[in-house]
């Protein structure tokens, strides 16, 4: 098997293995830890009979291993179980929420990624001058500011004081795309700000790293224009690191979504998860946790795959 293919298969297999181990970890974490699911549901005052009943009902008396495989078997077939609190099918409730979350994350990415790359290039172009320094300062601020602060500041000034955008982001199937977009304007802005600075800074570092290579000097000494140097020599070698930056930040965005959804009471998966953590509805938490982890692992995997594909040493073996 060619080396390239072998590495790709290996990386995908590793991703799947990681996902499987994560499912074990999440299941183990919610079962073996000292907390007792039955007790959590019924509270401290529950009678022993009631506890026994609910344990029976949840199948908690079965050995952990067989419960794990039942759960995993269900997952593979798309059956996420039923919520303890509402008795509803989790997969059904999650479906539309997952769609909403992806809708929000997608539009945040559409705004943030090109903007970050553009500003990153700008920082490289004006290295050590004021645009670059400004970007450094903004980055420092943005890694120090919690998502909900940006959320409430925007809500307070843009939403309430100026009244330019709705402060609560309701969304449902009956809305047109335009209505939906105007409804999610503020959360998209928050998410963009959350990942933008980081992505800019990392893009800048990735390009600078390439620009410091000896082959860039060779290109400059060939008498090429700055544009030609960047387009022909820097860019082909920057694609992999930039894709890596983007993927890492999208993974970060997935987590940011949780908080932003709560701030704007947006009907997505993040809010669903947080609600059910408070209610101690373990099956829902397990399902949501696994989905978030899967997206995160998947994005990291894509980043690695792009790196492998973009490496000329692997694409053109000796």
């Amino acid at each position: 098997m060619p080396l390239l293919l072998k590495l790709l298969v290996q990386r995908i297999a590793l991703g799947l293995l990681l996902l499987l181990m994560v499912s074990v970890l999440i299941f183990w974490g919610t079962n073996i830890l000292p907390g007792d699911v039955a007790q959590s549901i019924l509270g401290q005052s529950a009678t022993p009979e009631a506890l026994a009943n609910i344990r029976e009902e949840l199948g908690l008396n079965e050995p952990a291993l067989s419960r794990y495989f039942d759960w995993l078997g269900g997952l593979v077939q798309g059956d996420l179980g039923t919520a303890l609190t509402s008795g509803q099918d989790i997969a059904a409730s999650l479906g539309s929420r997952l769609k909403n979350t992806l809708f929000l994350a997608f539009w945040a990415a559409v705004v943030a990624v090109p903007l970050a790359i553009f500003l990153g290039l700008l920082a490289v172009r004006y290295r050590e001058r004021w645009p670059d320094k400004l970007i450094s300062a903004v980055t420092l601020a943005s890694i120090s500011v919690p998502e909900f602060l940006i959320g409430y500041i925007l809500m307070y000034f843009v939403g309430v004081k100026l009244g330019w955008a709705p402060t609560v982001s309701m969304i449902h199937d009956g809305m047109s795309l335009g209505q939906k977009l105007s409804s999610i304007a503020l959360p998209v802005a928050v998410l963009t700000m959350v990942v933008l600075a980081h992505m800019m800074r990392m893009t800048r570092a990735a390009i600078l790293n390439v620009m410091q290579s000896a082959y860039i000097e060779t290109a400059e000494l060939k008498g090429l224009t700055s544009f030609q140097v960047i387009a022909r020599h820097a860019l082909p070698n920057s694609i992999a690191p930039i894709v890596n930056v983007v993927m890492l930040n999208l993974a970060y965005l997935v987590v940011g979504v949780v908080v932003v959804e709560v701030v704007f009471t947006y009907p997505g998966m993040g809010q669903y998860l947080v609600d059910h953590v408070s209610k101690r509805d373990v099956p829902v938490v397990q399902a949501c946790g696994l989905i978030f982890a899967a997206v995160y692992i998947g994005l990291n995997m894509v980043a690695d795959i792009v790196s492998i594909l973009a490496n000329p040493r692997l694409r053109h073996p000796k």
Partner: protein, 545 residues
């Protein structure tokens, strides 16, 4: 003014440096250098590190690397002053009139593009040739430079050809647009000595065939003597001497130049081995953990008190691995290491403290061989505490003695390694090894990272200390001049085997085996016409076969 191709007048170059934690400050690298270069001539720029030679080379393209800036003077190329012209005009000059060959072709080729595309890029960009003509010219150059498969080598990616071949491709890249001037910046320094000679010959032939003028920058006077018509000696940004190659090599006027010329000519009378060696390694075979092939095959050698065994070979020959086996860092799979009359444990962990004390090591990079957070006193004092239990005044007295031995004063005791020069660092490492009062010191390329004159002093120091302490050296090096200067016996290694072993006189006298012959004849000698002789000699030999 004459109609020289290149005229440099009072060139001044500065740079901004950023010492960590301090304010950036400006320093001068080159203080007013002038020279002329006529069409078709080769000028060698020679000097130690920090002499400013690469900086001057790049200034002929009005280019400053990193924070380097040309602060004054004039550079005339083809009758045009280029320091004052616009970037647009410079772009027409760069890559077509003046081109550049760097030390590391591996880093200077874009890894994502095919070689041909990069070789012809400048010619096409300047509309000098059509794509077809440029490719034909590139293939012609590949042939002249002795590259294998000249028709197809351009279709490969840089990582698909060897280092020596890529260096020749870089030369083709520089010559393709028919420039008037090529700047060669240490083009063979990164290569093994047997590869260097081929590349050197290829470059020389290409210069002659195309009639191009060249600046040839190197720290190795013997190399530059082979290719240049004139030589300019630089030191700390100033010109020391400028003359014809013949004059510089055979009748240097300045003391510094004659030091550089004679640096490799140090001779050492080899002593015959004694009857009982201090350390013997017998039939050692070794491999690295997790691999399934041996890196050393049946290696044997002996070290004698007060004598030096030089182990020579190119990269990958197993010479450093031999040292690791001796110290027990890499346990031998087979064979044994005998110290005086006891067999040492193969593994470092199994050796007694006193066995460890007897074998000390000095490294190539003195920078990383000392803990940057320890003072010189601590570094030298630790073996005294550790092996001899010395404390307080006794220890300090001994540290002072050792500092004296390495010709550094007691005032260095409280300095940190970062405050020392390269040569001083290596001296402290020598003192640390001596502190243990060992019978054997392994010197792993201890002079290769140093400038020739500094290296020469270190060799002298090692030699004097050996005479006094009667310590045995295992001297690992790739540089045969160093071997001549210090060795009593020699082991030549190639691909993990000892291919030739004996006293210096035996090893360096014919008849030779093929590899030793190749290795010995590849070492540049400080005389004119050496390169042609070797090449002629080889041609005749291969014709004879």
């Amino acid at each position: 003014m004459s109609d020289a191709l290149l005229k440099v007048r009072d060139l001044k170059i500065g740079a901004r440096v950023y010492p960590p934690g301090e304010k950036p400050r400006d320093i001068d690298i080159v203080h007013g250098v002038s020279f002329d270069l006529e069409k078709g001539k080769v000028l060698g720029l020679i000097g130690e590190s920090g002499a400013g030679k690469s900086t001057i080379g790049l200034a002929t393209m009005a280019y400053g690397r990193g924070g380097v800036e040309i602060t004054g003077g004039e550079v005339w190329v083809n009758g045009r002053e280029i320091l004052g012209t616009s970037l647009k005009d410079l772009r027409q000059l760069r890559g077509t009139e003046v081109t550049y060959v760097s030390q590391s072709a591996a880093a200077s080729f874009n890894p994502a593009k095919k070689i041909m595309e990069q070789v012809i890029e400048a010619s096409i960009h300047a509309s000098k040739f059509s794509k077809k003509d440029a490719e034909a010219r590139a293939i012609d150059l590949f042939t002249r430079l002795g590259l294998p498969d000249p028709e197809t080598i351009g279709d490969r990616y840089p990582h698909q050809v060897s280092g020596g071949q890529l260096q020749r491709c870089m030369t083709a890249l520089a010559l393709c647009p028919e420039p008037d001037l090529v700047v060669f910046d240490e083009p063979t320094t990164a290569l093994d000595v047997t590869t260097q000679i081929d590349v050197l010959m290829a470059i020389k032939k290409a210069i002659r065939d195309t009639g191009v003028a060249a600046l040839y920058i190197t720290h190795d006077l013997a190399v530059v003597a082979q290719v240049s018509d004139e030589i300019m000696v630089l030191r700390m940004g100033d010109m020391v001497e400028h003359g014809t190659t013949d004059q510089i090599i055979n009748a240097p006027k300045e003391e510094y130049t004659s030091d550089l010329v004679s640096v490799r000519s140090r001779k050492h009378e080899g002593k015959p081995p004694s009857d009982n060696p201090v350390l013997t390694i017998e039939h050692v075979t070794a491999r690295y953990k997790g691999t399934n092939f041996d890196v050393l095959h049946d290696v044997s050698m002996e070290l004698h008190a007060g004598q030096t065994l030089a182990v020579v070979g190119e990269s990958g020959s197993g010479k450093s691995t031999t040292a690791r086996v001796m110290t027990g860092l890499l346990p031998a799979r087979e064979g044994q290491i005998v110290f005086e009359d006891r067999t040492l444990s193969a593994d470092l962990k199994g050796r007694a403290r006193d066995d460890l004390r007897e074998i000390q090591m000095i490294y190539q990079m003195a920078d990383v061989a000392m803990n940057p957070r320890q003072t010189v006193g601590t570094i030298i004092g630790r073996p005294l505490e550790f092996y001899f239990g010395m404390r307080g005044a006794e220890k300090h007295k001994r540290i002072d003695e050792l500092l004296d031995d390495i010709e550094m004063g007691a005032e260095f005791k409280d300095r940190y390694p970062a405050e020392l020069s390269g040569g001083q660092k290596q001296r402290v490492c020598i003192a640390r090894a001596l502190a243990a009062k060992p019978k054997v010191i392994i010197c792993d390329e201890v002079t290769s990272a140093l400038d020739p004159l500094v290296a020469e002093d270190i060799l002298k120091l090692l030699h004097n200390l050996q005479k006094r302490e009667q310590v045995a050296y295992l001297f690992i090096t790739h540089d045969l001049a160093t071997v001549r200067a210090i060795a009593d016996s020699i082991a030549v290694m190639y691909q993990g085997r000892v291919v030739r072993y004996g006293t210096k006189a035996e090893v360096l006298s014919p008849p030779f085996d093929d590899y030793t012959d190749l290795l010995l004849s590849s070492v540049p000698e400080m005389r004119l016409g050496w390169l042609e002789e070797v090449v002629e000699h080889r041609k005749m030999e291969s014709a004879g076969n």
